[in-house]
Amino acid sequence: MKILIVDDFSTMRRIIKNLLRELGFNNTQEADDGKTALPILQANEFDFLVTDWNMPGMTGIELLKAVRADAKLSSLPVLMVTAEQKRDQIVEAAQAGVNGYIVKPFTAATLKEKIDKIFERLESA
């Protein structure tokens, strides 16, 4: 399981990386915004994308839309971990095809629950 973590704050990337390792996901890579993440996703075989929303350059929602629009990446599961919590925004992310949405600050348990749920749903689909 290869996971890309996208957040402009390196502290948050490290937190997520450590939590994922705790959950048994050791193969992670990092990017600091959508612009750097997209070519990494296109050039590699990732199984999962965890992204923030509010980032300079290319935001998480733009990255999500770009991923869904890319033939090779369109079915990549995407989990958004963000401080954005306007209803409009959550609806927007859902419509853009997000697989899970976690608001910051979050707990290790929430992260595990959402990841489990995403894979459960993908397996049953």
Binding site: D7, F9, T11, M12, R14, I15, N18, L19, E22, D52, W53, N54, M55, T59, I61, A83, E84, Q85, K86, R87, D88, Q89, I90, V91, E92, A94, Y101, I102, V103, K104, P105, F106, T107, A108, T110
Partner: protein
């Protein structure tokens, strides 16, 4: 500012000569009349100048009122920024407290494990050197039985505390986002003040400025950063992860 008229001119020079003449000739009344005349000339200039200044001040104030950006900044954005910065203080305080609590839990625990293992090791060394009696060995064996579960339980707690410290660091991202919005605000205020200075200096670049502002109304869904208590509108935002889950499930998730 207009150039105030110079007092050095032919008219004032002529009056001055007349004044000297009347003083030298001892003509009290004409000396007084000329002095009054000179004073009133001076006052006229002063009144004109004040009139101009008043007009400029009036225009500047009107322009300032027209500049809704500045008004908005002063009325809502600045108080919001104070709320945001206060929220940053409480978030950093909370994170520091969580971290310190975890450290204060973890240190005695690791000290305890270290002390027990050192003490057991010295007895174990005695045993290997055959300096332990049978009774002492039985006691050592019992203490070791107690020690092993204590290590595994202790390290589980240590791991939890380290995770608490890890999660507490999330404040850096959240406060960073909030501080960024305040930096943007400070920048806007700076620009507003520069505009204001330009206006009061008589520059009139405001026509195109205000036409530019009219386009800001198109609202897209953009990133807004973390919700700050007292700043966000409760109806527009969700309240925590459960609310997010409810909203998503209502959308068929």
């Amino acid at each position: 500012m207009s150039d105030s008229k110079s007092v050095i001119n032919d008219t004032t020079l002529g009056r001055a000569h007349e004044l000297i003449d009347s003083i030298e000739s001892g003509d009290e009344s004409s000396a007084r009349a000329i002095m009054d005349e000179i004073a009133s000339m001076r006052e006229m200039d002063l009144f004109c100048e004040m009139g101009k200044l008043t007009r400029e001040l009036h225009d500047s104030l009107n322009n300032f009122k027209l500049d809704s950006k500045m008004a908005g900044l002063a009325e809502t954005e600045i108080p919001d920024a104070k709320e945001r910065l206060n929220h940053v203080i409480s978030m950093t305080e909370e994170a520091a407290e969580k971290t310190l609590n975890a450290v204060e839990d973890a240190i005695p625990l690791s000290d305890d494990i270290k002390a027990s293992s050192l003490e057991l090791q010295s007895r174990w060394d005695k045993f290997k050197n055959r300096k332990l009696t049978a009774d002492e060995f039985r006691e050592l064996s019992r203490d070791l039985d107690e020690f092993f579960p204590k290590i595994s339980e202790g390290t589980v707690v240590l791991h939890e505390r380290l995770n608490d410290i890890l999660m507490a660091q999330g404040f850096q991202d959240l406060t960073g986002q909030i501080i960024r919005t305040v930096i943007t605000l400070v920048h806007d205020v700076e620009e507003g003040l520069v505009d204001l200075i330009k206006m009061s200096g008589g520059a009139q670049a405001k026509a195109e400025e205000s036409s530019k502002k009219g386009n800001d109304n198109v609202r897209d869904i953009v990133a807004e950063g973390p919700v700050v208590p007292g700043v966000a509108h409760a109806s527009e935002t969700v309240d925590g992860q459960d609310d997010v889950d409810d909203l998503l499930s209502s959308l068929g998730f």
